[in-house]
Symmetry: C2
Subunit: 266 residues, 2 copies
DNA sequence: ACGCCTTTGTGAACCAATGCACAAAGTCGT
DNA sequence: ACGACTTTGTGCATTGGTTCACAAAGGCGT
């Protein structure tokens, strides 16, 4: 237990310099959600085993994650639910609330704005923007759709630090550039493009098709396993209905492979 | 270059036993998307540097990722775009197409069904389900909304292997159970709950509030850094407007901490 | 035909994350 | 008041992932 000199009343705090491992950060919100559910059901104390089960992780991992925040458990008992909620919230920066701007009020933007229950957990929709005059002015839940011309102004006035991009792919990079220029340094991107940003800007992406493709990979692997391990070289019979494209540069020329099925295009 | 005995014509294939690292799998879809964009713009050949830049990763990582699929580059030149698209697609299992069922036709389900461009890349919406009679029968894009009673039937008839859960949190676990019981082994969950599934079922989650919380953490860290490194113990002045809850079990009793601000609840 | 130049593929060193297993801490029943 | 029992927090070994840096491969110009 390597703790520096610390004041009496908060026995658990880590020295301020401590950096949370990225993997831990990405799990804390999950713990927080499970804890919130427990608090709602009146649970007062929880052991690492119970919480880990609820979050779907190994209990040793959970304890190590929490130990990075400080020493907030009680041996032989577990963790106080409310107190742990507070500590995790604090570690994540949720004790202040964050004004968020959502750009794009199409299907997805609307869905996000309506999340309500989610978005209000430490976050507040400062603005919902769109460029289509036909929907500017309408209301989605509690927020009015404003024109994207106001983007810079709204960001500055509401001190927005987090932007959500819910536009079509084509518009995403331009929107991103404007967000960054206006001072936003955290961006959550739902558009299916890789955003290019300057150093120091934090981008996370949420992408349906990527997730589906990862699932497809595992599904394929599982089904391949079931049908017996593909004995050394029946590889090219896996996909019917698509001629095997010729190998470029095999012994002949490059870019002969134009007639590829290209499963990845629209 | 450790390759076993292999037929002449496909010089790059890896021995069939090769397992792709998970991290690689999660990046392949990104490469695929960038490649598709290049193909569309008529690019024929791409170097690892260019592709890596487009995908926002280090080029060494990109090369190592691709090398797990096989040896499909040409030294001194790069990779043939179409051929690489084909190989990546094949590795991901996208040379067959995957019928997908989406459960929940609320805002989010509708947004997903309308993705069109995305979903059609190797995937096909076999069914869009909802339990609300008011919207059953309506059309979202090309697909009709059907009643969730038909779930089991549709899954079996269309050989659906991938399910997408876009219901409110409360319904998610029940839907998940039904999907699994009907034979679905890959699930993409948009509902804000941790799903409990049997061994062998693959669940991925997409969660707005988790992503936002991770962004908030980094935003907080950055801003804390700018305002000077918090000198050893000004920790408890970080959050105004929220009284520091008492420490449970400090020297007094457990669960005194009931009046916590609880930034994580509705 | 030959050598220069580009770019791949990978060995090896590093770093991050996981999981085991156990000592230390602290509760609770008697 | 004490000892048995529970549960935390963490040292350590291991696994997985990233990055560097370079030899081998192969095209291209002359």
């Amino acid at each position: 237990m390597s703790r520096g000199s610390l004041p009496q009343f908060d026995p658990g705090d880590r020295p301020a310099g401590e950096r949370l491992p990225e993997a831990t950060v990405s799990r804390l919100p999950v713990y927080l959600r499970v804890l919130a559910g427990m608090a709602e059901r009146g649970v007062v104390t929880v052991s690492s085993d119970q919480l880990a089960a609820g979050a779907g992780v190994n209990s040793a991992k959970l304890r190590k994650d929490l130990s990075h925040l400080g020493s907030y458990g009680i041996r032989g008992v577990g963790y106080d639910v409310d107190y742990l909620i507070y500590q995790v919230s604090r570690a994540l920066g949720l004790t202040q609330d964050w004004p968020v701007v959502i750009v794009g009020a199409g299907n997805l933007g609307r869905a996000l704005a309506n999340y309500g229950g989610f978005v209000t957990r430490g976050f507040r929709i400062a603005a919902l923007l769109d460029s289509d005059p036909a929907i500017v002015g309408s209301r989605i839940g509690r927020v009015a759709v404003r024109h994207s011309d106001e983007l810079e102004d709204l960001i500055v006035r509401h001190k927005v630090a987090i932007g959500v991009i819910a536009t079509p792919g084509g518009a995403a990079q331009a929107v991103c550039d404007r967000l960054v220029a206006a001072g936003v340094t955290s961006i959550l991107n739902f558009a299916p493009v890789v955003l290019n940003v300057a150093e120091g800007v934090d981008v996370r992406k949420v992408d349906l098709s990527i997730e589906l493709q990862i699932l497809a990979f595992h599904a394929q692997r599982r089904s391949a396993e079931r049908n017996g391990p593909p004995s050394e070289d029946e590889l090219r019979t896996v996909s019917e209905g698509a001629g095997l494209p010729s190998v470029p540069g095999g012994a002949s020329r490059l870019s002969t492979a134009a007639a590829v099925p290209s499963a990845a295009e629209a």
